[in-house]
Subunit: 355 residues, 2 copies
DNA sequence: ATCACGACTGGGAGCGCTCCCACCGTACTG
DNA sequence: CAGTACGGTGGGAGCGCTCCCAGTCGTGAT
């Protein structure tokens, strides 16, 4: 009576498909998994049976027998509220999802709230619940990437922690993006271009500041540290930084902000100070978020190819999982403790009325 | 030596824990799953062994043997770009994740890209062995919820499709939110309050328009259909709708928009028309998104308790899965045509300078 | 002391799949 | 014409767990 599964009422099993096709279990498995060691005739026989029965392999059984999971985890530290307010996260998600779909991989989403959860997460992984991990928004001091490395779990970071990142990663060209913003500003005749940089313990902030400096130097402008202020990627930080800048260099005629949110803060402060945008001061942000489009005036900003980054992350991870050497990485190899494969995607300046 | 599992080298199994604790496999299982039919002494013995060995149950094995998955899927139609541009989605995600964490459930994220994928989705679910499904942003004509119902897969919707929604859902009080916005506007002396409603094939748009109408009526204002325009929740739609309104009722002194994005479009058009906000025309949006905070002037908007909605969805789903609602709950069966359990959470008006 | 009856406990029987080895026939080879 | 490769195939042996049925043991009633 109560034989058979209770829920999902009797989906066909491998064995049933085999019986129907008049072959053995092993053969069906081979067909399902695309093994070449099956004759064409048998293959189509099996495929017919699969179609007839509407057979779909049972993931749990597969995972158990195959010692794998067909699942990758996307790990997000929830403390990163910044992340959540932006389309950034959604874009990554989208790209990852698209990149994974081609491989019939599931996407497990893990928000890490507390350090307790972080510890528990290692156990999760240990229990073989995922074949690989994608890490979003890792800080320089995050032990997770290295932990994963030690456990030999394929990992890909979104953005590197330091210049010499060893774990495979996908990043956007932050330095280049900042440079293009500066070239744009300088090209339009701005002489005193200030910048509101992010906190330097974040590598991404470092890069953007670097791009700023390089462009200033390349243009032959004097390098003036008084034109550099730091924010914490928040609006309030942007406001504070702009007040500093205005105090130190009242004659500045352009500000490059390391994020749109800080630019929004800067804009408010500029208006308060009676400066017109872009007439008196040109403003450029970074991220090309919704804020940029809706700001008044609309904000020129550096766009990252977010969705592509997600897709690239999925690709890099799959390459690791399937063990391919993968010709995707331009220079680096994951061979011998050297830098793993990585991708740095180009950014693009989106010009709007603020500059 | 190299015997045992190939990857993640030999995590302890139930059997090993049993051996160490000097008990049987079944007993360990009982302890792990919190069965009461274990003596206190044995329990602590087992717990000690679990701790010593760092045992973590293998999900795949559990899923296979127990015919369940300890996993729920969050399904998002990717066509809803609107969803992705907003913190809405992230908020839901956050709430769901939090609500699920208490139950040790995994969150599987599924973006549905094409209608082909949508059709295959049933198989997908069956094969992937999901214990329940959370559906975000379902349209009125979406067959998925009913399909899931027929397959007896626990489901919770985010927002209902129609007034008489049969599938369990969590929604916010859209009608009430619109009402509070209108009361606010009318309370501040606005006489000709227009609205930019959403497309009426979306129930949420219906509700917000309803709230508008009810409040207008309650205030004793004349019901003027010329004060109602429709947008499609996009910025351009908002612009177009506002132009219509301005043509029909040049003397309007307030606009309630069914979304912040449409409000952003309306704002641009108002400015183009030389109307000052809020002096000439007060503007109120819905969603309290990032745009609202950064708009110029900052936009008064109706906030939904997004994260709580996510949490509530998780809770409702878990109740279904564990069977708490499956006979004892309020009209649990959706198959019988009764309304399933649901929750409608209150909204809150966030006042800013635009009104 | 005997019996019945719970409270606990051990372990067999799978869940549906992959892995892998033995095996089959056939087409070559020497 | 035996010998030797193979491409191709069937099915046994688990993967680590849950379910469930027999025990085993104490206890109270008779």
């Amino acid at each position: 009576m109560a034989s058979g599964g209770r829920r999902g009422g009797g989906r066909p099993t491998l064995e049933e498909v085999a019986a129907r096709a008049g072959v053995g279990r092993g053969t069906v498995s081979r067909v399902i998994n695309g093994s070449p060691r099956v004759s064409e005739r048998t293959r189509s026989l099996v495929q017919q049976a699969v179609a007839d029965l509407g057979y779909v392999p049972n993931r749990a059984a597969r995972a158990l027998a195959g010692n794998r999971a067909d699942t990758v985890a996307l790990v997000v530290p929830e403390t990163e509220t910044r992340l959540f307010a932006e389309p950034y996260f959604s874009g990554i998600l989208r790209g990852v999802s698209a990149g994974l779909a081609d491989h019939d991989m599931q996407l497990l989403l893990t928000l890490i709230r507390t350090s307790k959860e972080r510890r528990r997460f290692a156990d999760y992984l240990a229990a073989h619940r995922v074949d690989g991990v994608l890490l979003v928004s890792v800080h320089g001091d995050d032990p997770l990437p290295d932990l994963l490395g030690r456990m030999a779990i394929p990992t890909v970071l979104n953005g590197r922690r330091t210049a010499g990142e060893l774990v495979p990663y996908v990043d956007s060209d932050n330095t280049g993006g900042a440079q293009s913003a500066l070239e744009h500003l300088i090209g339009r005749g701005r002489r005193q271009v200030a910048t509101i940089a992010g906190p330097l313990d974040m590598y991404v902030a470092h890069c953007r500041l670097d791009g700023y400096r390089q462009a200033v130097r390349a243009a032959g402008h004097p390098e003036d540290d008084a034109l550099v202020a730091h924010g914490d990627f928040t609006e309030e930080g942007g406001r504070r930084a702009l007040r500093e800048l205005l105090t130190r260099r009242p004659a500045l005629d352009a500000v490059f902000c390391a994020s749109d949110v800080m630019a929004a803060g800067a804009r408010q402060e500029l208006r308060t100070a009676g400066r017109r945008i872009p007439d008196d001061v040109a403003l450029v942000g970074f991220d090309d978020s919704a804020i940029a489009r809706h700001m008044d005036p609309p904000l020129t900003s550096v766009r990252q190819p977010i969705e592509e980054m997600g897709r690239a992350m999925a690709g890099l991870l799959m390459a690791q999982i399937t063990g391919e050497a993968e010709g995707g990485g331009p220079d680096a190899r994951s061979a011998t403790g050297q830098a793993g494969p990585h991708l740095v995607l180009p950014t693009e300046l989106v010009r709007r009325q603020s500059s």
